[in-house]
Symmetry: C2
Subunit: 191 residues, 2 copies
DNA sequence: CACTAACGGTACGATAGCGTTTCGATGGAG
DNA sequence: CTCCATCGAAACGCTATCGTACCGTTAGTG
């Protein structure tokens, strides 16, 4: 029925992400978002009672599912996912949004919950690929997909947000080799 | 010569960290820090022209060197360091400070540089332990201490800041086993 | 003990965001 | 084409922080 509001809603969410991107959490105000969206503060408050609620919806809108490749080789599948992930980390506004969001999530339980939820959704493709590899017998039966997912993705987060150093392309195969080889069943590995 | 100022400086840096801890970067203002320190804004501005400069000094003051154990066993040394690290992550204000700092570092080059510097200093004990293990022949000669340090520490950062889940105690030996075993020279490992 | 630099407290005008209200314009549904 | 919910714009009083200035006090120096 109402279709006028939908466009406005999208414009505001986009504006919210823009503001968060280049002003950080400190500059994330209703006024700034309204200004950027070319919208009225009243319209903004009509939908979101607090900046926290707006931030939740805005971040939720950023989620785009990763592809879940199925080439038949765990190494190839994981390489594909990690490559897409590193691209996201180095060539999009995503990490700056995430940085602001991590800070906010440390203090607001609602944001913390959403953050957990978004992260879990983002982990799924890698989990699926690892489970398939285990079912196929390519990985050892006692492989823990959860821990392995942590080990595979966390170094790239760390490099970007903590160590603050660039991510060389060959870091991807290096990490995969170091993390995945001990999981391989004998005969398929050079471990 | 001047000894009155030193105490005041420390009080202000401590207050700055307190404010950052429970108000985040958004609440990190000169007024708030002065209030918390029981100091005058004028005194604050006398030493630090901007909140950024104050933040740099305050974060720099948080650095406490980790012990660098030398038990003769790489596993024991690494376990000790990672245990201390997880404690820091779960039982101190450190992670909330770091979260605010990560956000700030995404936008301020000076903070980014300091962040890199602090991180490098914090990495040193683990690097030293790994290098000693390699020199002793306990780890393979082609072991890359830098990458190994990334692999050992990053999962815990990830768990806390991104996945937002608790860190079970046995995650420490699990990570060590998965990361370190492939590096061991044949005959010393059950890989 | 007297001096002086540094300090805490306070007030200042200026700016910015808050959350709310009013009002006139607009565009989609019937 | 008409109607009315939704919208943008603007103004409201309020509060907080900014950066600076002044003044009386205090704690180390010589």
């Amino acid at each position: 029925m109402v279709s006028r509001g939908d466009g406005a809603r999208q414009r505001m969410l986009t504006a919210a992400l823009d503001v968060l991107d280049d002003a950080g959490l400190a500059g994330f105000t209703m006024e700034a978002v309204a200004r950027r969206a070319g919208a009225s503060k009243a319209t903004l408050y009509r939908r979101w009672p607090t900046t926290g609620a707006l931030l939740v919806d805005a971040m939720d809108a950023t989620y785009r599912p990763f592809p879940t490749p199925d080439t038949g080789s765990v190494t190839k599948d994981v390489t594909e996912i990690l490559t897409a992930f590193v691209t996201l980390l180095e060539r999009t506004p995503f990490p700056r949004l995430l940085a602001a969001f991590i800070d906010a999530a440390e203090r607001d339980p609602a944001l913390s919950e959403l953050h957990t939820d978004l992260t879990n959704r983002r982990r799924e493709p890698l989990l699926t690929v690892l489970q398939r590899g285990r079912d196929r017998g390519e990985l050892a039966p006692d492989t823990d997909p959860e821990l392995t997912t942590d080990l595979l993705t966390s170094p790239f987060f760390y490099r970007h947000f903590v160590a603050h150093r660039p991510i060389p392309r060959r870091m991807i195969p290096d990490v995969i080799t170091r993390v995945l080889n001990p999981c391989r069943v004998r005969g398929l590995t050079d471990c």
